[in-house]
């Protein structure tokens, strides 16, 4: 058969003629897929990518403590550095490249306006310990961000300092512990109730504060089992840590009942705000009875993930917990002057302490506020609606072939599948995910939450358009069909086209090599 391409030249379908098999390249590169060694492997002595003025002659004041000997750093020029990191960047998948459907991560578009604003010298080139009179604009921004966060959540107080979500959890739970200490109940209330579906940071946070973690099962609808919850209430319960919408992607409709029962029993309600994207502008957690909740500016409020951080995890507090919020706090005097309260005494004498150096992730505050101001109250409400609509659309399209562990109604901003649809194929959730990589997608969250076998948690976010969702759904349905048709190798050999094939994680853990070392 002679297939003609668009230029009218005959092409030979791949695999049909051995002589057209791709030769190995001399460089190991494949066109724009470029291999790149370590910095340390391309070093030359005396080379540097920075120029300095000559060092003035002075009397050295370091005594015997000057650094002698070499540090061992490689010498590279500026062009080399640019090429090195450009090539490395090209090996990464990113939101800028395609859909990033990671459940509970809210991988939405990161607006570049936010980057420009964060780089204004008035925000980026100010020192945290400058006299307050010289940074009133920074304090004003923190106050304005606080106003947005408190209004959106319906809570009267907020601590901006935690550096990330897990750090926010610690900050929220520490206030609860401080409140219990103030009441003299810290000794008897040592138990924290955590659903089995919770993110690992929840029990880790509770345990790190000395609480005992007691798991609560979910019911057949993927929500907290009310009977199990009510049975575990008692005088030894300090708090519950709930995510709402929860990690199975559904709204805990009994949440008010849970909050009331918990408060009756003398406990506090901590809410993990990771999934706030589903309800922002449509529901205020304060109306649901929570006492503390952390927000993830890097999820709901679009600050970039940066390959793993930095994040920012402000915590909102109820009236009951507000006095225990950590320092620093931003206060405004009668004449409008803004100031920082940096010590846990005087006005902040019940503050449980300090959780971070300086005042919090100012760079992320600027980005988040730019995002909030861009969307406005109406836009943020639309964010929640579109994120829920997009997830339900994927649910509707994918449930043709995928298996839903919970089927009693709509999901919220994310949809949970399990691996029953792969039964009999010999393939796992992991195999399926690796085949998605070859299709040009980052896989969804896998094996979380733990309450479902081979979990696949899909969160498209509101910034995916319908065409993107359809392309994604079409490809996944194709893969599901291929799995059922027994095309095992498509999955077990995947990924074939990524910069690297599957990596040997066993070797990495058995014989850890955690840095480059010069040849002995």
């Amino acid at each position: 058969m002679n297939v003609m391409n668009k230029q009218g030249r005959p092409t030979v379908p791949a695999g049909e003629d051995e002589s057209s098999a791709a030769p190995e390249t001399f460089t190991g590169n494949r066109a724009l897929a470029l291999e790149e060694p370590l910095l340390f492997e391309q070093s030359a002595e005396g080379r540097s990518g920075v120029d300095f003025a000559p060092v003035p002659e002075v009397k050295d004041r370091r005594g015997a403590l000057s650094r002698s000997g070499t540090i061992g750093l490689p010498g590279v020029s500026e062009p080399q550095v640019v090429r090195h990191y450009t090539r490395l960047s090209q090996k990464n998948y990113a939101i800028d490249a395609g859909i990033f459907p990671l459940g509970s991560c809210t991988m939405k578009h990161n607006p570049r306006l936010n980057e420009r604003m964060a780089r204004l010298p008035g925000f980026s080139d100010i020192h945290p310990l400058q006299p307050e009179s010289t940074v009133q604009g920074a304090l004003q921004l923190m106050k304005e961000l606080s106003r947005w966060l408190m209004t959106l959540t319906g809570m009267p107080a907020v601590a901006l300092s935690p550096g990330a979500g897990a750090h926010g959890e610690l900050t929220g739970m520490a206030a609860i512990r401080a409140a219990l200490e103030a009441k003299g109940e810290a000794g008897k209330r040592r138990k924290v109730l955590v659903p089995e579906s919770a993110h690992g940071t929840n029990p880790a946070t509770a345990a790190s504060l000395g609480f005992e973690v007691a798991g609560i099962e979910e019911d057949e609808h993927g929500r907290v089992d009310l009977k199990a919850f009510e049975k575990s209430l008692g005088e030894d319960v300090a708090a519950i840590m709930l995510t709402n919408p929860n990690t199975c992607g559904v709204f805990e409709y009994d949440i008010r009942r849970i909050a009331d029962a918990l408060h009756e029993a003398g406990g506090y309600f901590y809410c993990d705000g990771a999934n706030f994207n589903a309800i922002v502008g449509r529901v205020r957690p304060g109306d649901l009875g929570i006492d503390a909740m952390h927000l993830n500016l890097h999820k709901t409020f679009s600050t970039p993930h940066g390959g793993g951080g930095p994040g920012s995890g402000p915590v909102v507090y109820s009236e009951a917990l507000a006095p225990f919020a950590p320092v620093p706090r931003v206060e405004q005097d009668a004449d409008g002057t803004l100031r920082l309260i940096e010590r846990a005494n005087g006005e902040a004498e019940q503050a449980f302490g300090r959780v971070k150096g300086f005042h919090g992730q100012m760079g992320m505050f600027v980005r988040a506020l730019a995002y909030m101001m861009s969307h406005g109250a109406d836009g943020l409400r639309q964010v929640a609606e579109d994120s829920v609509l997009n997830a339900n659309y994927l649910k509707a399209r994918l449930s043709e072939a995928f298996s839903l562990p919970y089927t009693d109604g709509p999901c919220m901003h994310e949809v949970l599948f399990d691996d029953s649809f792969l039964k009999g194929t010999g393939l796992s959730t992991l195999d399926f995910a690796k085949a998605m990589i070859d299709e040009g997608f980052h896989p969804m969250t896998m094996y979380f939450p733990l309450v479902v076998h081979g979990a696949m948690l899909v969160e498209p976010t509101e910034t995916e358009n319908k065409q993107s969702l359809d392309q994604f759904a079409d490809a996944l349905l194709g893969l599901a069909q291929a799995a059922k048709a027994g095309e095992t190798e498509r999955f077990t050999q995947a990924p074939r086209f990524a910069p690297r094939r599957r990596l040997d994680e066993t070797q990495a853990a058995r014989k850890p090599v955690l840095r480059w070392k010069p040849a002995a």
Partner: protein, 126 residues
């Protein structure tokens, strides 16, 4: 190899005199996948039955190992610290984890024999 006894947490015990040699079952090691690290108890420590005494780590999981019997830990298998793969290869033999000098030999009688354990595993897998 029919004189092992098993716990419901998938540990095995083989008694030699008043010493119990302990490890994790073959079923347990297949469930865990490639073992990458083992945290062993301190020699000389006294442990109670069902206490957490060791951790077996694979790439994706960390499994607690509970003492199948009470007594004093008199020896641990140092060889598997450098070669954790032994636990996968020979869980009931060279992959043993620790030896306990029994303080209450009667505790062995409460454990399952091989047949009962195999039935137990089959029941769990359903």
């Amino acid at each position: 190899m029919a004189n092992e006894r098993y716990t419901q947490e998938h540990e095995w015990v083989r008694v030699e005199g008043d010493v119990a040699i302990c490890g994790i079952s073959d079923f347990a090691q297949t469930q865990l996948g490639d073992v990458v690290f083992v945290e062993l108890p301190e020699v000389g420590g006294v442990v109670a039955k069902d206490a957490e005494v060791a951790v077996v780590e694979s790439v994706k999981a960390a499994s607690d190992v509970y003492a199948p019997v009470s007594g004093e830990v008199i020896e641990v298998n140092e060889a598997i610290v450098d070669d954790p793969e032994t636990v996968n290869r020979d869980a009931l033999g060279e992959g043993w984890l620790f030896k306990i000098k029994l303080s209450d030999p009667g505790e062995i009688d409460d454990l399952m024999d091989e047949t009962a354990y195999d039935e137990f595993v089959a029941g769990e897998e359903e």
